[in-house]
């Protein structure tokens, strides 16, 4: 109970931020953290909890952005457009995502990577230009509603994953991650649960894409399909701690802040340095920050939902 009060308190604090702080810089930072939290958790559901390492989440993110932009330009209010974006991701997932479960282990990873490559090349060819927001919004571009959308979606996402974390559904996911054949043997329909996992995962990725489109005024159509959007969530979830609720959140905070620091101090070199940090974290933080926090507390806090081995 205390935990719930604490969380509600934090959410309210964040909700009050725009009323107190007007510096765009801070709002931008928080929006970005929310965006990455959403995307990382979307990957986390499929990859962290269910063990299906997807390298193609940029596809679903991108579609979310595309459809959101389209619906929004048609005059549909943002939150409805967001729902549309989310559903479009799911539709795409049912066409190409679910069949990809035919692939096991590393083939799934490579296959999803291939999907994201197809996606970006196709978009680059079909929509070569720049995507502009509806003209009236461009005129009165305001961070505040974007901030609230970001916060809302982030809270929904984290809430969903928390629920998953202590539910039977989540347990089924973890069982599949740990030992798929054993799970099948004890009667878990692994395909069905993988599909559910991917459904939730892509719905959220679509929300993230929609948020991106709402936030970033103009961008080349292919930008939300860039492969970085596939790799960043993997990295973030891994830094923070895959298969946990707090992991991707923590990871996003670290990620966004580090990127900011490097961008400011190093200008052009920032992607370079970032690559190094990338490597460093993979080598030295295999369980993520959550793992380190757990060790420091002297508590063997492995995964939130049962299973020891990562």
């Amino acid at each position: 109970m205390k935990k719930l009060v604490l969380i509600v308190g934090i959410v309210i604090c964040f909700a009050l931020v725009p009323l107190v702080i007007t510096k765009a810089y801070v709002l931008n930072l928080i929006i970005l953290i929310c965006l990455y939290t959403i995307l990382s958790h979307s990957w986390n559901i499929l990859g962290g909890y269910t063990g299906q390492i997807s390298l193609g989440h940029s596809t679903f993110f991108g579609i979310g952005a595309l459809i959101f932009r389209y619906l929004w330009t048609l005059g549909i209010p943002p939150y409805f457009a967001l729902c549309g974006a989310s559903i479009s991701s799911l539709v795409l997932a049912s066409i190409i995502g679910f069949p990809s479960f035919k692939l096991k282990g590393h083939y799934f990873a490579i296959g999803t990577l291939a999907l994201s490559m197809i996606a970006i090349v196709t978009v680059q060819n079909i929509f070569p230009g720049v995507s502009f927001p509806p003209p009236q919004h461009l005129a009165k571009y305001n961070l505040v509603p974007i901030y609230y959308m970001a916060l809302t979606v982030a809270v929904i996402t984290i809430g969903l994953v928390s629920f998953l974390n202590r539910s039977k559904l989540g347990l089924a996911f973890v069982a599949i991650r740990e030992e798929e054949d054993a799970a099948e043997a004890i009667g878990i329909n692994t395909f069905k649960y993988k599909v559910i996992s991917m459904t939730l995962s892509t719905l959220i990725a679509g929300l993230g894409g929609g948020l991106f489109s709402f936030y970033v005024a103009s961008y080349y159509y292919y930008v939300p399909f860039e492969l970085g959007w596939s790799f960043d969530p993997v990295l973030i979830a891994s830094i923070g701690g895959a298969g946990t609720v707090a992991g991707p959140v923590l990871g996003s905070i670290v990620f966004v802040i580090l990127k900011e620091l490097f961008a400011i101090s190093l200008g052009q070199m920032n992607v370079l340095i970032f690559g190094i940090v990338f490597i460093f974290t993979v080598l030295f933080l295999p369980k993520g920050l959550i793992g380190i926090i757990g060790m420091v507390q002297g508590v063997r806090k492995s995964q939130d939902v049962s299973a020891k081995k990562r």
Partner: protein, 290 residues
């Protein structure tokens, strides 16, 4: 008709290069389950090194292969010891994920180093034979492309002989089949992985040199990695012979794409084929059923 054969020929010449590009990636993945998507970045770096070597010394790229190969072998050796050796102890899924992430980091580093040092402008090594073609019954075959095919064939034969006729080569194959059983034969699996990894790097150097003869820029690191992955799957993991065939196959499919729909969609054809193969025949053309 002639146009079709012409396009197909270009496709096949490209295909040889694709096969060469994929060779290193396939070897490393087969032996130790490391997905080295930085491979394209390595090739790009090799292209730049060749370019600048030519710029300052006018050494012919094909000859320069003799320098690049051992150079990249050594670089691979060092990078394995520093970065990749510690991944050996992880289980398969983790190894793939972590090696992928580290490679991606390397890819970012290579691309940006290249842009930083040499800008994003296109380069190409132009030699006396650069524009020249062999005219075979009306089909134009660029000498550079033919050179690429020749090198590809030589390299693959050499690799094949190494893997089947030498003890160490056989040890590499054993390790790619079963690490534990290989250990029981007295094989130092760590050392084998180290060498295989380094060979993988050397195998990035060679296509890099050839690439320098065409127009290139830092962005090709991603394109080349794509190609390598596609050929890897087409060929079937762990099959060396399949890699060349896979390369040719991809080249041919792309040619078909160009012929039917035009150049911009060339990539998409290959990628769609890729996904279809993954769905229906993941073991590839020459691989064994998983």
């Amino acid at each position: 008709m002639l146009r079709f054969i012409q396009i197909l020929s270009y496709g096949l010449l490209n295909g040889a290069l694709y096969g060469l590009v994929a060779l290193g990636l396939s070897l490393v993945f087969g032996v130790m389950n490391y997905l080295m998507i930085a491979h394209g970045g390595l090739i790009m770096m090799a292209a730049y090194i060749t370019f600048w070597a030519f710029f300052y010394t006018h050494i012919d790229p094909f000859l320069f292969i003799l320098v690049v190969t051992p150079l990249f072998f050594i670089i691979g050796w060092i990078l394995f010891k520093i970065l990749f050796q510690s991944l050996m102890k992880f289980p398969e899924g983790e190894k793939i994920k972590n090696s992928l992430l580290i490679s991606f980091g390397l890819l970012l580093i290579f691309s940006n180093l290249a842009i930083l040092f040499w800008t994003a402008d296109e380069r190409a090594v132009t030699t006396v034979y650069s524009g020249k073609v062999l005219d075979l019954f009306g089909v134009r075959l660029p000498y550079i492309g033919l050179g690429g095919v020749a090198i590809a064939i030589i390299v693959i034969i050499a690799l094949h002989l190494f893997l089947t006729r030498t003890y160490f080569g056989k040890a590499i194959r054993a390790v790619s089949l079963d690490h534990e059983a290989a250990t029981l034969m007295g094989i130092n699996v760590n050392k084998v992985c180290l060498v295989a990894f380094s060979i993988g790097f050397a195998l990035a150097g060679i296509p890099g040199v050839i690439t320098s003869l065409h127009a290139f820029n830092p962005a090709i690191s991603f394109d080349l990695t794509n190609k390598a992955l596609i050929v890897l799957i087409l060929a079937g993991v762990g099959s060396i012979k399949g890699v060349l065939i896979g390369g040719f196959f991809l080249g041919a499919i792309e040619a078909a794409g160009v012929y039917l729909v035009g150049t911009p969609y060339r990539e998409v054809f290959g990628l769609i084929l890729f996904v279809l193969i993954l769905m229906f025949r993941p073991q590839g053309i020459a691989g064994k059923k998983a």
